[in-house]
Symmetry: D2
Subunit: 398 residues, 4 copies
């Protein structure tokens, strides 16, 4: 959490029924929409990301209905469990965790669903457990190609603020975000972008939860007054974080993330380790999962990093628990801080006794240096949703 944001968090709380609050809320909503690539209403909940998942489900689905879950990682698994708890039948498209969800498989399953039993497709844009990103546009096209009416629910919790999220451009029906990753805030805010078809469904089913119900939030988008007591201090922080992103320029912010992601992969290669994601076009802009050879495992590395450098490295999940460590490169990170992080990893690799080659930091640094010298480096067109065949976002970004 950057210093500017933390200072904003400590501002005196204002009356959430007064005009000052309305100005704050409208400013935050407008900034969030720009970041989410949408002109649709946005609900801002005092909640975690899990709450934002539940809000999306509760507003669009009725217990007993079926959803198709693209299960390519641990967080998809959790979302599926939440959906089942809510009473949904969860059909899982089991994917290779080292690759993005396969749009062709989605299309195939939907084509087979003549009866239209599947009411929604649940897709995670940036799977935090694996560092693999999904091609949302391709999944959208798959649904369209199958001429299937399922809603498309997209989780951008760990990509929002790190790369282009294009709710309108993607043709998503609900986009789900949270405050604690690329938005550089403490946890406590969940977000739903409410597309027109999703809103229609929501009105039809009128969900049992008054807390998650979109309708009052849709009104709030016009007035700036929230249905229930909002988490005002987090909104102050969010306003500041959005201002920081705007000042740097989204293009620059996302370019920076891409640069850091690619530099991190150079480091991993130089260490002689393996990037978990096997599809180059699907590399995550915000984190890199690394596969370690054997003994000692990733837990030993994490222990060394935490004890010696007070640096937490992300854990692995499921069958990869001790085989993966994850390097986060998101939020308010500059080139120097990235080199610091990679230096920390290299120090910990040495300390943990793992077999590796020195020189990862230098490889990353040379890459950054090259980038800085030539100005920029071509990035895969997949990173920009605007290049896809999906309808372009009507939203103007600065």
């Amino acid at each position: 959490v950057p210093d500017r944001v933390r200072r904003a968090l400590s501002r005196p709380v204002i009356d959430h029924r007064g005009p000052e609050f309305s100005t704050l809320a409208l400013d935050v909503l407008s900034g969030l929409k720009r970041l989410l690539g949408t002109a649709q209403p946005v609900a801002i909940y005092p909640s975690s990301g899990t709450g934002a998942w539940e809000a999306a489900l509760a507003n669009t689905l009725v217990p007993g209905e079926t959803v198709l879950l693209c299960r390519n990682g641990h967080f998809a698994t959790l979302w599926g469990a939440l959906a089942e708890r809510y009473g949904l039948r969860v059909e899982r498209l089991e994917g290779d965790w080292r690759r993005p969800p396969d749009p062709d498989e989605v299309e195939k399953i939907l084509r087979l669903d003549d009866a239209g039993a599947i009411k929604a497709v649940l897709l995670i844009h940036n799977e935090t457990s694996t560092g693999v990103t999904a091609d949302v546009c391709a999944v959208r096209r798959a649904v369209d190609a199958a001429r299937h009416g399922a809603l498309l629910l997209v989780d951008v919790i760990s990509s929002l603020g790190s790369t282009w999220c294009e709710h309108d451009g993607w043709g998503a029906d609900v986009t789900i975000g949270a405050s604690q990753k690329g938005l550089m805030l403490p946890p406590g805010i969940g977000v739903n972008v409410i597309g027109p078809r999703a809103l229609e469904r929501s009105r039809a089913i009128r969900c049992r939860s008054g807390y998650w119900a979109w309708e009052a939030y849709v009104e709030a988008n016009a007035t700036g007054f929230f249905p229930y007591t909002p988490a005002t201090s987090l909104l102050f922080g969010l306003q500041e974080a959005l201002a920081m992103l705007r000042e740097e320029g989204l293009d620059n912010v996302f370019d920076r993330h891409w640069r850091h992601a690619s530099a991190t992969r150079r480091a991993v290669e130089a260490w002689g380790l393996e990037v978990f994601c096997e599809d180059e076009a699907a590399f995550s802009p915000s984190l890199t999962a690394v596969l370690v050879p054997g003994t000692p495992g990733a837990d030993e590395l994490r222990r060394a990093a935490l004890e010696q450098l007070n640096m937490p490295l992300g854990v692995g999940f499921g069958e990869f628990a001790d085989r993966i460590f994850r390097i986060g490169h998101l939020g308010d990170l500059n080139d120097l801080m990235l080199c610091g992080v990679l230096a920390g990893v290299e120090l910990s690799l040495a300390r943990s006794g793992m077999a590796f080659n020195r020189g990862g930091v230098q490889a990353a640094l040379d890459h950054l240096s090259h980038w800085s010298t030539v100005g920029s480096v071509a990035r895969p067109s997949k990173q920009s949703a605007a290049n896809s065949a999906a309808p372009k976002s009507p939203v103007q970004r600065e």
Copy 2:
């Protein structure tokens, strides 16, 4: 929000899976339990108070079931609406808004419910819209006297931190709190105390919401690790607020609130206005609603206070909208600040053109002065739940 708490809010966020977080969480839980008078598990949600209401309903009730709502004010009305949205049948015990809910009526209704259709009684301890407090112990005794199995769900959102809340001593089944009133925090944290019968019910019905589900939080009470991403910065603030309450001593904190409430009533009387609450034993420790005679109404007064002094006065609700204004005297308020608040009301009364007698501030001050000179003033025994016939809390308070 006191300065100390605001500085705590701006601390760097820590890893919510690390040992430092666990220490924080266990400390916060232990402090909250002391304040809530309970040894039972407590769930701490990233949510507003509305979310905490919903959590209590979702964990203990199934759509289609019936609840008895003691409707003595605006917030009770809102809670009832939320319950209906959730699918419950809401039987409303319509009370006089100027008096507390009538335990005899509760008993009567429950006695008539031979079939046990009523699954829960919904009670607001301190109705923020009216400044009237309910006698929770008496309602508990009414339920017991009717030999009825309904759960007792008690909202202490605006009394927590301002007076004794005795979940165990009251014999409540669920106690519902939030961060933004007497806990002196920004909004964003909702709380449920989970009594054993409520927990049992919760396990039986296994609610559809994974977000509100108590079971994972029950485990968190032992380990200090939360099921989903917690609102860490608010927890830092909560820890600091609990420390402030502990340092002052709960007895002193509650005595101070009682002193301020009674001084405020002296001011209202001196102004020749009427305290909305007609039952002396039910005066709220945290706010006083005042009835104004006629023209100009309370809205004009509020306008004057806001424009001239930037002092928001609480609005009236329902039929009393323009007839009531509310003075808050809760949180980190000392005698001087209370006199400042009352001075602001008196300045605004004059400015608004309302008929009133000068001298309210002086009357309050004389009361405070007397109190300060004699050391303390006897307060109604009703303020202390420990005096009731209900089972005493086993929790040691310092």
Copy 3:
């Protein structure tokens, strides 16, 4: 120290040789000059007010020279001691501490000083120990009438930010300020306004202190780069405090102080106590010293206020030590806070056992109420230096 200022104090420190610092410094200088009523250079020292006194002496006077000190209070006494320590001969014009310095006496003394031995007149604008303000314009006219070349050194440490300070309009040669009173900052910044005759003298004598030497600061007024390491975080705070004054408008700020000072006097009268200042035209805008009758003395009152209410009341000095207490009403104080302060005094009067009449707070409140109702109340023309015969300030105030 207001919350906004405190948050500014915690900003990350910037390089004091970089362009960002220059922008900050020039902004602060421009705001300070507006507040000080001057177009002359201003030196901003990392120092206390004592340091700013010493800076003024060291730049304009050589040990062995004579100064005329208007000694009407404790702080004048301290300044005199500092001047003697510096090696100056201090001629003391012993004034009645309950009245302002007498310009006729100043004129008389200077007329007798044919030889021009007296090199400077030392005058405190607002004597913090007594709550009496000097008529700077009248003293200026007295010096001029005596056709004497002495420099006029004016201390505005406790009036700056509370009333008009008009270095240029007054015809002062050096004006001396500090951060911790009306500027609403923590201590740590001292200020000198450097008039042209004083600057000339400074160049001629070239003071021995490199730290206080004005010349480098005169350059800094053009470039925004300070000669030595500046107290950057305090400058951040000063920038914010100046912004607050500008936003409220100096007219409104000073009107507010005058309103609070006059309300405080109503309270003192109602208590049956005596305002120490006997000259109505010389009442301080920022504090009121009150004379107490006898036993118990002011110390007992202060003890009660501190122990019971944690409210420090200003001590008395010299022969009045136990006979005076002082009420500060400066800085970021609104009507409500003033009533709170006065309530605290009234509570402490009662607690201390002092003989007094109740009703002081109400008298102040009625005065504020009248003021607020009629819009404003005429204030003595003496408050505005622009009414004097002295040369008008060329500086535009907004």
Copy 4:
């Protein structure tokens, strides 16, 4: 400035005449003494380091007297200018800026001063412009060997908090510090340690400056009440900074600085550049000055670092202006941040077009890795004053 310290800076200001202040002041004084290796009184001024220089001169020397200045860098030059401005005759021992002051030369000059004209030796412990440290003990022994009575005034402004400063152990007479370097504070506090011989001199000459005069501060060391208004918020920050140093342990803090300094030198060597300091035993623990070959010069490098990375690199001075850049490695810096800083330098070297070899960061990292693996690396005994022949400090360090 670390986050903890910045939050401390924003605490509400307390009454500097109350008991809370006294506790604060005594705690700060005790921590400072531990850090300065002394049991003598310490004066804490609201001032910059320049003010602390002036305070040391003004208390011990009278205009017209002679001092011997070891001039081995830019800051020594500035101190000399300040001394001359104060009226002292400054005899300059012109040293090689790439090496520490030569104790033998000091001894030689003092031996020649039969008349005892030289009243003080002015020595900078860690010359910030060059990254060369003086051997204070050796200079002390030189003075003693010459049987000369000159006082030894030592500036530790940029070494305090980064390495052992042993006022008592060194046998210094005055030790001069400031807040903005190793103490991790914003500028605004100057420090003098007052040895017994210096204090005696101070009493004899009774300096003209009341602001700098030690005597009142000597009393303050017993009571915790400061003679003039102190910079309270900076004292809050200082208290927190001292707590951080204590928690890490001085041994660990200084070891960390030494590790970072040696890693930085590995980077410089790997880049094929030259460390400015030619005497290995005199390497600075807190900064490294680097000599660049020719065209483009250091200014071009600094421009690249500032524009591209917002990273200020220290300027060169005098004849080395465009030939030197300086890397700071002091304060709250961990291994990761150091690698980040060095990465920034390497990126800027590439960007500036300077001839250099890649691999500096990796060399530093390998050094850190080795250090971390073997636990520690022997450091030159010169770093520890305790190894010298000088009298051991009686102060217990934890």
